[in-house]
């Protein structure tokens, strides 16, 4: 058992209001630079939809992540083998182009002032931020299909809907319009990252202490295999500096005890951050199981931070008492491992993503009949029976199974039954209008009990800042002191790798040669 610590995350999708504040916070801090205009280390997608870049989930096109050899059960990069990488180094056949994202633009506001008097209002024409030339038509943007704008073109082309029956598609449009929810995405800081494996230069690495995946800007040589290798398309190529860049989980903030900017700014308070301990010896094993078992396999390598054996092994591995204490308070551990209501995004990519999502409940509460809006199945108290919320979900459960469980509908059902049980139980507590038998039945179906339901409710609806973000002590000085109790700055009895790792530009990120 090789116990390691990983800073990981939970996004509670029922709480996401799609305001893009996270995106803007990230953009203003990290990607407001030349060559990075099109990058969105954090973005919020409308689902169903084609996402950003367009159709990123379609790995037949982009060939990201890993695939399991059906004969030997072994993992291989879906992109290509090592010889294939070197052979394709002069031309990567699967590389997305800037047009799969969008051509960044600004506006020529001066035109408003300089236009001579005429019959028409002057306009601020769009100017490409790459070429500086006028763009007559803007054909795509970073959030082109936001709130289902442009559907059915975009939503109907969601790769997760392939193979859906007409009945299932009809269910999507139950109240006359397509249902949707938001999917905020950042780098998953995977345990088995495809980008790291695909980089021939070895420039991408996972930090041992906290599992944050970073790209060394000094080692990157623009071989651009990482962009293809990441199935989530969260590695971006800076066309100006000739370097790849990605979400750094705001490690300079984490190291000073603050949550990442997108977490901190989240208006819906959907984001949770905390440490989990996992068994690094079983990464490959967990990533190699058949599709339907992937979620369970990933849960099984996340370790119980209260288990004395785990604590002993963690200490033997140099994880400090303080870090273990933080892992014990981690909200992510609770959501993912203890309560089992958070799920990884597209586990079938087999990178073991460490960002988990609590799926949104979308019960059909009303339908359209002959042009009138009817609330369905109203009970005697005017309360629709919530137990049927699962069967009446407006998005087919198969859709969520495609997104979060590699097609395993049973796991999605288990999650929803528990979420429904929490709602019914809390309805009883707060309003008291649900019959006792229905509550008992809900708790039984949800495989939960009043204490757990109360705890889930508390962390979902009423968490404080410090409960949502249990930022582990990553401060370098602190981390050093916990590992080397007798620090001697003169003889430097502690090893450091200063200057070898990290993102920090010590020079302007521009071409000089």
């Amino acid at each position: 058992m090789d116990v390691r610590a990983q800073v990981s995350m939970v996004f509670h999708l029922d709480k996401c209001i799609g305001c893009h504040t996270c995106t803007i916070a990230c953009k203003n801090i990290w990607t407001d630079r030349k060559g990075a205009e099109y990058m969105f280390w954090n973005n919020v997608e409308t689902k169903p939809g084609t996402g950003y870049p367009t159709l990123w989930e379609d790995q037949e096109q982009y060939r990201g992540g890993w695939e399991r050899d059906s004969r030997t059960g072994k993992l291989r990069l879906k992109l290509q083998g090592k010889w294939g990488t070197l052979g394709n180094i002069f031309y990567n056949p699967y590389l997305p182009r800037i047009d799969d994202y969008f051509e960044p633009w600004t506006y020529d506001y001066q035109h408003l002032f300089d236009t001579p008097e005429g019959d028409d209002q002057p306009t601020a024409r769009a100017v490409s931020m790459i070429t500086g030339q006028y763009m007559d038509t803007i054909e795509a943007g970073p959030n082109w299909d936001d709130d289902l704008g442009g559907s059915p073109v975009y939503a109907d082309n969601d790769p997760n809907l392939t193979g859906f029956s007409e009945e299932e598609r009809r269910q999507l449009r139950e109240i006359g319009r397509l249902t949707f929810f938001y999917l905020p995405r950042i780098c998953n800081h995977c345990l088995n990252p495809g980008c790291v494996a695909a980089c021939p230069a070895g420039a991408i690495y996972k930090r041992g202490e906290d599992g944050i995946v970073l790209i060394s800007q000094e080692k990157c040589r623009a071989w651009r295999m990482c962009i293809s290798g990441c199935p989530y398309k969260k590695v971006y190529y800076n066309w100006y500096t000739g370097k790849s860049e990605k979400c750094i989980l705001c490690y300079p903030r984490l190291e000073t005890g603050q949550p990442p900017a997108c977490f901190h700014s989240c208006v819906g308070r959907i984001r949770y951050l905390g440490l989990v301990l996992y068994d690094a010896d079983r990464i490959v094993e967990a990533a190699s199981v058949p599709d339907a078992q992937l979620v369970e396999a990933q849960r099984s390598i996340v370790l119980d931070p209260f288990d004395p054996v785990v604590i002993r092994r963690a200490k033997a591995n140099g994880i400090s008492d303080l870090m273990i204490a933080y892992a014990q308070r981690s909200p992510v551990y609770k959501f993912f491992k203890l309560w089992k209501i958070a799920l990884p995004l597209h586990p079938e990519f087999r990178t073991l993503p460490m960002l988990f999502y609590v799926p949104p409940l979308q019960p059909v509460q009303a339908t359209m009949h002959n042009g009138t809006y009817e609330i369905i199945q109203t009970g005697s108290e005017g309360l629709a029976p919530m137990l049927s919320a699962l069967e009446q979900a407006r998005l087919p459960l198969r859709y969520f199974a495609r997104l979060f469980t590699a097609g395993n509908v049973e796991i999605v059902k288990e999650v929803y039954r528990k979420l429904i049980a929490v709602r019914i139980y809390m309805r009883l507590q707060k309003v008291g209008d649900v019959p006792e038998p229905e509550v008992r039945e809900a708790l039984r179906l949800g495989n939960t009990d009043p204490d757990e339901a109360e705890a889930i409710f508390r962390l979902t609806a009423l968490p404080t800042f410090d409960e949502r973000f249990v930022v582990p002590p990553l401060g370098r000085e602190e981390a050093m002191e916990t590992q080397f109790p007798s620090l001697d700055p003169v003889s430097r009895n502690y090893p450091t790798r200063k200057g070898e790792v990290g993102f920090g530009f010590r020079k302007e990120p521009a071409r000089r040669w």
């Binding site: 990488t85 031309y91 800037i98 996972k206 041992g208 623009a222 033997a316 071409r511 040669w513």
Partner: protein, 227 residues
């Protein structure tokens, strides 16, 4: 004669020293700039036709030059058979013309595509012009001064060996036609340009990928070994 000495006995050393010293300096001081500066992200189609052909054809031709230089005896034995000589020369001309065509595609792409044009520097253009001159000269020599594979061994090889052994002898190549000499000079001009341009990606070729484990983990402080 003096010009010959400057160009073929002095300049090669200047070029190599520049390549090594500036190359190391740039690696130490500005490692960030060691990049192939790929522009595939901005333009895909012309690059498909240009880049692959250019690199592979050039690598094969370069390899032939190096093999003939390092394994002269084996090379001589190999091309002693006329059939092999003609095949080799024919192949060389075909590959040479391929590099000219591919580089023309790449140059036109840089010139005509506004996106690529904005990411092109003056040094990039200098490099493209030099490379174009060099490969065109190579094709010219191969076509009109037959058979290069043969006389290369008795002119360029001893000259390069004399350079490598620090006893430069320009007499080996002094009587060659000027167009051949230009091709030889071009090689060292490119060597001199190497540390200043994106040509540095040549030595960044990631061959270590073949034996590196897939996952890279870096510890800020290496922990004690696990028990």
């Amino acid at each position: 004669m003096t010009l010959d000495i400057i160009l073929f006995a002095v300049f090669p050393y200047v070029a190599v020293v520049l390549a090594v010293i500036v190359g190391i300096y740039r690696y130490v001081v500005d490692r960030f700039s060691y990049s192939s500066f790929s522009s595939q992200f901005l333009e895909n189609r012309a690059l498909f036709f240009g880049s692959g052909i250019w690199h592979y054809a050039l690598l094969i031709i370069l390899l032939a030059h190096i093999i003939a230089l390092l394994f002269t005896d084996a090379w001589a034995a190999f091309i002693a058979n006329p059939t092999r000589l003609y095949t080799l020369e024919g192949l060389g001309v075909a590959l040479g013309i391929s590099t000219v065509v591919a580089l023309a595609i790449l140059a036109l792409r840089r010139l005509l595509n506004p996106r690529i044009r904005t990411t092109t520097t003056v040094l990039d253009w200098l490099l493209i012009v030099t490379l174009m001159t060099q490969v065109s000269l190579g094709v010219w020599v191969a076509l009109f001064y037959r058979w290069g594979s043969l006389w290369y061994m008795y002119t360029a090889v001893p000259w390069l060996v004399s350079l490598a052994t620090f006893s430069p002898q320009v007499s080996y190549i002094a009587s060659l036609p000027w167009i051949v000499k230009l091709h030889m000079l071009g090689g060292f001009v490119l060597t001199a340009l190497f540390p200043f341009t994106r040509l540095v990606h040549l030595i960044a070729f990631p061959i270590t990928y073949l034996w590196r484990p897939y996952q890279v983990v870096i510890w800020y402080a290496r922990r004690r070994a696990t028990s």
